[in-house]
C-alpha cells in the first residue's frame, strides 16, 4: 500500500464524529466466547456471509493452507457465537491511552479486549459489503487506520488516528485474530515524522499457497529451459507471523 493511501486513511479518520448520550462500557465487561476456527477460505462459497461472529478463536498461525481446506456444507458452518460488539455503539468501544502506550508486553495485554472489539466493529461492515467489479467503492470500506475513543482524565476523547509506537504495533501484530471469517487479516504499520499508525486490511478468500506454488513451478521451468539459476519463493509475507 502506498504512503499516499496511508495518508488518505489518516485523513479519513478525522471525518468520524463522536455521538453523545451513549453509555460507555469497560472492555473488561465484554465477554469473549471461543468459537471453532472457520477453515473455509474459498471466496466463492461465501457470498452470503454469516456475521454472527467475526473473530476466530485463536491467533496461532496454522499455515497458509488455503488449498488444503475443505468447504463445509452450506448451513452447517459453526458460526453461532454472537459478536462482542452486538448492541454496542462505536462510542462504547474505547480504551485508555495508558492501556497500550509505552507499556510492557504484560501490561499491553490490558489493551487486548479493546483491540478485539475495535476489529469486530470496524471489519463487520467491510465483510458484509461485497466487492464488485463494477461501480464505485467508498474509501472507508478499504482504507482503515486505527482510530477511536480513548479515556483522557476520565472523559472520552476522540483520537484520529491512534498513535501506535513500534512496540505497540509489534504487540498487536502478533495478536489474534489472523483470520476473520476466513478472510486473511493484515495489519500494516506506517511511520511518519509526526506519528505512526496501524492499518487493518482484509484479503479475499483465495488459495494463496497454490498461486505461489504454481508461480514457483513456472519460474523453475523457465529457468531450467534457459539454463538459469533456480528460483526460491517465500510464503505469504505478513500472515506468517502476525
Amino acid at each position: 500500500m502506498s504512503k499516499n493511501r496511508a495518508r488518505r486513511a489518516k485523513r479519513k479518520g478525522n471525518e468520524l464524529i463522536q455521538t453523545r448520550g451513549s453509555k460507555l462500557r469497560q472492555p473488561s465487561e465484554l465477554l469473549r466466547i471461543p468459537v471453532q476456527k472457520n477453515a473455509n477460505t474459498d471466496h466463492r462459497g461465501y457470498y452470503k456471509f454469516n456475521t454472527d461472529t467475526l473473530l476466530s478463536d485463536d491467533g496461532e498461525f496454522e499455515d497458509d493452507s488455503d488449498s488444503d481446506s475443505e468447504l463445509p456444507e452450506p448451513g452447517k458452518e459453526d458460526l453461532a457465537t454472537p459478536l462482542l460488539t452486538d448492541g454496542l455503539a462505536f462510542e462504547e468501544i474505547f480504551s485508555t491511552p495508558q492501556d497500550f502506550e509505552g507499556k510492557s508486553v504484560e501490561e499491553l495485554r490490558k489493551g487486548r479486549p479493546w483491540f478485539e472489539c475495535y476489529l469486530e466493529y470496524s471489519l463487520r461492515k467491510r465483510i458484509q459489503e461485497p466487492d464488485w467489479s463494477f461501480g464505485l467503492m467508498p474509501d472507508e470500506l478499504y482504507i482503515h487506520s486505527m482510530c477511536g475513543l480513548v479515556m483522557v482524565d476520565g472523559k472520552p476523547e476522540w483520537t484520529s488516528p491512534m498513535n501506535f509506537s513500534k512496540e505497540t504495533y509489534e504487540y498487536f501484530a502478533t495478536h489474534s485474530p489472523n483470520y476473520v471469517l476466513g478472510f486473511r487479516l493484515v495489519k500494516e504499520h506506517y511511520c511518519f515524522s509526526s506519528s505512526s499508525f496501524l492499518n487493518v486490511e482484509l484479503k479475499p478468500k483465495i488459495r494463496y499457497k497454490a498461486i505461489r506454488h504454481a508461480m514457483d513451478h513456472a519460474l523453475d521451468r523457465w529457468a531450467e529451459e534457459n539454463q538459469l539459476d533456480a528460483w526460491e519463493s517465500t510464503g505469504p509475507m505478513g500472515t506468517y507471523n502476525i
Binding site: S67, S133, Y169, R207, I211, D229, W231
Partner: protein
C-alpha cells in the same frame, strides 16, 4: 550465469532497509506485506552478508485487499514497491466477489549510466476476466528484469500465464506438486 544483484543494491544498504519474513520495511521503518516473493537462489546465497539483513526480493506478488480498487493497487505498486524499494517486478491481482479478476505486471527499468536513481516503471495491464471462463491471456516479463543484465539477449522472456491464475482462483482443492495434481486449462 553470474550473480544477479538488483539495481541500486548498494544504495539500500545505506538505508538499512531489510526484508524479513514478517514484512517489508522501507527506509522510514514502515512495514507492509506482500503475498509471495520470488528470488533467484544465487541471489539468496549472495546477499547474506550480514545476519538478519537481506535485500529486497526480485519479484513480488500481491493480491489486492478487499474493496481496494485495481487502480489503487497499481499506483501503490509503482510508488512504494518499485520506486522506493529495489523490487524489479510486481505482479498485482485483483479478485472481485462477482467471479471476476484482473492482473497487471509492473517492471522496473533502470536507465543506468550516471543517474542511477532514475528509473521507469513499465506497466502491462490485463483485461477484466471472468474466473469461470477460459482465457488465453499471457503477459511477458523481460528476462533482464528477472535475472539482471547478465542474461543474454537470446534468453526469452518469462511468460505469465493468466489462465494458470484463473484456474487456481476458480477451483477448489489442492494444486501443487505435493499432491501430484496437474494444472490443466479448462476447455
Amino acid at each position: 550465469m553470474g550473480i544477479h544483484r538488483p539495481y541500486g543494491y548498494l544504495q539500500h544498504l545505506n538505508y538499512l532497509s531489510r526484508l524479513t519474513c514478517e514484512g517489508l520495511y522501507d527506509s522510514a521503518g514502515s512495514k507492509s506485506f506482500v503475498d509471495a516473493t520470488f528470488n533467484p537462489r544465487s541471489l539468496v546465497n549472495a546477499r547474506r552478508f550480514r545476519p538478519n539483513e537481506k535485500s529486497f526480493p526480485t519479484m513480488v506478488l500481491q493480491v489486492a485487499y478487499r474493496h481496494q480498487t485495481f487502480g489503487d493497487l497499481r499506483s501503490s505498486a509503482a510508488q512504494t514497491y518499485l520506486r522506493e524499494m529495489d523490487i524489479q517486478v510486481f505482479i498485482g491481482v485483483k479478485v472481485y466477489d462477482d467471479d471476476k479478476f484482473q492482473v497487471f505486471v509492473q517492471t522496473r527499468y533502470d536507465h543506468g549510466g550516471y543517474d542511477e536513481d532514475y528509473s521507469d516503471v513499465y506497466v502491462r495491464d490485463g483485461k477484466l476476466r471472468s474466473i469461470t471462463e477460459f482465457t488465453g491471456e499471457k503477459i511477458s516479463i523481460p528476462a533482464k528484469a528477472l535475472c539482471g543484465a547478465s542474461v543474454g539477449k537470446r534468453c526469452p522472456d518469462f511468460v505469465l500465464d493468466v489462465e494458470m491464475l484463473r484456474y487456481i482462483l476458480g477451483t477448489t482443492g489442492t494444486v501443487g506438486p505435493k499432491k501430484g495434481r496437474e494444472i490443466v486449462p479448462l476447455s
